[in-house]
């Protein structure tokens, strides 16, 4: 069972009505609801990665998201922990043009490090298969 506070430990009445927070000027995103596990597509609509995490950094006294992270999270989600920092692939936030059902980038996927495994397989495996270097007829 996922962690929770027992009923007797909860410090506030559950049906309490809370005041509305100050309304920020820009677009509001809840990270888990709107970003995590979303498909990232490049400028042509080709899938590039999945948003597995987000890198945060302090700048001028504000904490801002700088990169979308994608990496080998399957095992860590099942068994706990998180991948080492060196295994994350980063997509800089400045490439993001739209956050909706998918996260859309303004660059082509081939220019991003996140697709290096696909590029490597294309060059070293698929490219050596007879017929692997041209479109199917």
């Amino acid at each position: 069972m996922s962690p929770r506070l027992r009923r007797g430990e909860r410090p506030f009445p559950p049906d309490e009505r809370l005041p509305e927070p100050p309304r920020p000027a820009g677009l509001v995103l809840d990270a888990r609801l709107h970003l995590l596990d979303r498909q990232v597509v490049d400028v042509r609509g080709d899938p590039v990665a999945i948003v597995d995490d987000v890198e945060l950094e302090e700048r001028d006294g504000r904490v801002v998201a700088t990169d979308l992270l994608s990496g080998p999270v399957l095992a860590t989600r099942v068994f706990g922990g998180r991948p080492p920092r060196s295994r994350w692939h980063r997509v800089a936030w400045r490439h993001v043009t739209e956050v909706g059902v998918v996260v859309r980038l303004g660059v082509r996927g081939e220019t991003l490090d996140v697709l290096w495994v696909e590029r490597w397989l294309r060059e070293h495996v698929v490219g050596r298969v007879p017929g692997g270097r041209h479109d199917p007829e």
Binding site: M1, S2, P3, R4, L5, E9, R10, P11, F12, P13, P14, D15, E16, R17, L18, P19, E20, P21, R23, P24, A25, G26, L27, V28, L29, D30, A31, R32, L33, H34, L35, L36, D53, V54, E55, L56, E57, R62, V63, V64, A65, T66, L69, R82, A92, W93, R94, H95, V96, T97, E98, V99, G100, V101, G106
Partner: protein, 118 residues
């Protein structure tokens, strides 16, 4: 710091009283653009007495269909509140103390502003 350092972390007030868990992180795109969009600024943390199933977000939107699920998830996440990042005194990783709020922090309604379309 990455987002996972915050998500599911235990939240305590300055007196050490357990308040719940970070179920989501609210970001706001309100700064100068970096590329096409502004970089998301960490605006606050959504704290709930429970952690599971919170990603569906029924407690934060006016979504009410399917009605049975909407009612069920809203009921499960009663007591969820938003606390602004300025009210966070310390945030640690899994091995640390979790998130500690400063004395005199304020709790806000966790509902998302209605104009959000994603």
């Amino acid at each position: 710091m990455i987002l996972s350092d915050l998500l599911d972390a235990r939240v305590h007030d300055a007196a050490g009283r357990a308040l719940g868990f970070v179920v989501d992180v609210r970001l706001v795109l309100d700064g100068p653009p970096d590329g096409v969009l502004a970089p998301p600024r960490l605006h606050g943390l959504l704290v709930s007495p429970r952690t599971g199933t919170s990603f569906l977000g029924y407690e934060r939107t006016d979504e009410n269909a399917p009605a049975v699920l909407a009612r069920w998830f809203r009921r499960r996440h009663r007591g969820t509140f938003l606390v602004l990042w300025d009210d966070v005194a310390a945030s640690g990783t899994d091995e640390g103390p979790g998130v500690v709020l400063r004395d005199g922090y304020r709790r806000w309604d966790p509902a998302l502003p209605p104009h959000r379309g994603a």
